[in-house]
């Protein structure tokens, strides 16, 4: 195929990502389980890239988890989203950046639906006005926070102190990426690389010097499934889905798993622990697990941020094997200290999964 033809085909898989003046909407799940990742995103954007990112303390859950738990109708969800847009409008920004893939999928779904059914946009405006007296403008650009890191991956790499390279051998480290179902399975043209060739995480790994490993269950769901995890009786579904991925990726001996959605790293981290307790099976080297990272944590490591500032001490699967391969120094003595250096004790060790 001619180069021009290839370029034309690939254009279908690109998306527009705004370059500055962002309205940042936090993620319920990321704030609970990976709070330092959101702090890192803002640090990278403001301190490294000198970007304007605005956060309004009045924004709330987007209602995505409640919507996908089938507790509310589209009317409720699209009105909650309309309120978030109202806060963005007040701020003077037009580029909306959610920190959650469920949110990103839902914002995309609502905006597409309003395109197809303008009467529903009118209804949302009426309901928002009736409930809150608010009005809103739609964003000009919606990009997930990972899209922004992807956009500036080369700038981050050029400022980086470490690379995804084994510092002893000089060989690229091997990563598997997990894109998160709602990033591009619903609206492929809204994700970098679409549903077939999602490139948002691949682009980061490659820019940071690593190598992406393909494996058969690369696109399988992590198993969150909303009600399939929140309700204890259903969690067999959730753990089985993650297990299927681990079994599929393990033969390729990945050095790390990179994730997009805030829920996926939680499941891919914690289900490794649960499987080790249930079946005595571990998937990493020498009885450890495969380290799981958020994209913010990866960017922070590349930029040389302290691993404990990134919150890596709150992962159940130890991340130290990856740090050692990258040649990143870390201090075990400060791992579990508080902000003022106070001793917060030590977590108990799992019975099977090895941890540092």
């Amino acid at each position: 195929m001619k180069i021009e033809g290839k370029k034309r085909l690939w254009q279908d898989y690109q998306k527009e990502i705004a370059t500055d003046n962002y309205f940042y909407a936090r993620s319920c799940i990321r704030q609970n389980f990976f709070p330092a990742s959101e702090k890192t995103f803002l640090r990278v954007m403001r301190e490294e890239l000198n970007k304007d990112v605005y956060e309004d303390p009045r924004h709330t859950t987007c209602s995505g988890i409640v919507y996908h738990s089938d507790l509310v109708t589209m009317d409720t969800t699209m009105t909650v989203i309309a309120r978030q847009f109202s806060l963005m409008t007040e701020s003077g920004r037009k580029n909306y950046v959610p920190s959650c893939i469920t949110s990103f999928g839902l914002y995309t779904e609502v905006l597409e639906m309003w395109e197809h059914f303008p009467e529903l946009e009118t209804k949302a405006r009426e309901m928002l006005w009736k409930a809150t007296g608010r009005e809103f403008e739609k964003p000009e650009n919606v990009a997930h926070a990972s899209d922004i890191i992807y956009k500036f991956r080369n700038e981050i790499a050029s400022r980086g102190k470490f690379r995804l390279v084994n510092h002893r051998t000089g060989q690229p480290l091997r990563g598997v990426e997990h894109i998160g179902c709602h990033y591009s399975k619903m609206f492929p043209h809204k994700g970098v690389g679409g549903a077939e060739y999602p490139y948002v995480l691949v682009g980061m790994i490659e820019a940071f010097g690593g190598e992406v490993v393909d494996y058969p269950e690369r696109r399988h769901c992590c198993g969150f499934g909303f009600r399939q995890y929140v309700v204890k009786a259903n969690r067999g579904f959730s753990i089985s889905s993650s297990r299927k991925k681990f079994e599929s990726m393990a033969p390729y001996k990945p050095d790390f798993i990179l994730t997009n959605c805030p829920g996926c790293p939680y499941f891919l981290d914690r289900w490794q622990y649960a499987i080790s307790e249930m079946e005595g099976v571990t998937y990493g080297e020498n009885g450890y697990g495969i380290p799981v990272l958020t994209y913010e944590e990866l960017a922070g490591l590349v930029l040389g941020y302290d691993p404990w500032d990134l919150g890596l001490q709150t992962h159940q699967v130890s991340v130290e094997p990856l740090l050692e391969k990258m040649g990143i120094p870390y201090n075990p003595a400060t791992k579990y200290l508080g902000a003022q250096g106070q001793d917060l004790g030590r977590p108990e060790k799992p019975s099977v999964l090895k941890v540092y």
Partner: protein, 236 residues
């Protein structure tokens, strides 16, 4: 056309998700739930497409519609642009509106979801809230969460959160005026009506079962639906 079909067609998810199904089974092949549960989204779509009200009522009262994880992998793959996941969402909504959801083990779990992610959203402004998450109910969180939970304020401070604080930041206290606006949205758009109906139908079912029921997440009926699994949901 029957009343049930008419009501389904009023749901925008049904309108978006249901075109002409050619019964190819691609959705079932790609579906993570179909690998685990005794679940066949192709058959759900065929049943709905049949316009047979008896079959649809059977779905609304049964276990099948609650197996989907709403990952929407089916949307990407259907060669006729159907989305079984959206059809499932419309069926689940109607099952709750008609009070049929308490007729199935999986459907009854809606009360768990309402009392957790639903109520946390309105109370805190977050669908999840760390103080409510314990390894008793979420044991897979592991010893690392016990450590984190036991030092919650100190760990959140170390990680840069503004936990329960004023102003912007991670897990900040969301202003009461904002929570009031969220509540009002739920009121105006029918969200609270759905919540109340889940409560009413669940209480009735608890009485039928002879189980204690109160507004907390520590009562006999809640404990039962949170963990009950009759073992008949799975693939052989």
């Amino acid at each position: 056309m029957g009343q049930i079909i008419d009501r389904l067609k009023q749901d925008i998810r049904f309108e978006e998700g249901m075109n002409a199904c050619i019964n190819c089974g691609t959705c079932t092949a790609i579906c993570p739930a179909a690998e685990f549960y005794n679940y066949d989204p192709r058959q759900v779509v065929v049943d709905v497409q049949s316009n047979n009200e008896e079959k649809i009522i059977e779905l609304l009262k049964g276990e099948t519609i609650w197996y989907c994880g709403e990952c929407m992998s089916c949307k990407t793959r259907c060669p006729r642009s159907n989305t079984p996941g959206l059809i499932i969402m419309a069926l689940r909504a109607l099952s709750q509106e008609l009070g049929y959801f308490t007729e199935s083990e999986k459907g009854r779990q809606q009360l768990v979801l309402k009392r957790t992610v639903g109520e946390w959203s309105l109370k805190h402004g977050y669908c999840m809230y760390p103080e409510a998450l314990t390894t008793h109910n979420f044991p897979e969180q592991g010893p690392i969460w016990d450590w984190e939970h036991g030092n919650l304020h100190a760990v959140m401070e170390r990680l840069g959160a503004n936990f329960q604080g004023e102003g912007p930041g991670i897990l900040r206290k969301i202003p009461q005026e904002s929570l009031d606006e969220l509540y009002k949205i739920f009121e105006v758009t029918g969200g609270l009506d759905r919540f109340e109906n889940i409560e009413k139908c669940s209480q009735k079912k608890a009485e039928e079962f002879g189980m204690s029921f109160d507004e907390t997440i520590n009562n006999e009926y809640f404990d039962h639906i949170f963990v009950q699994n009759n073992g008949e949901h799975f693939k052989e």
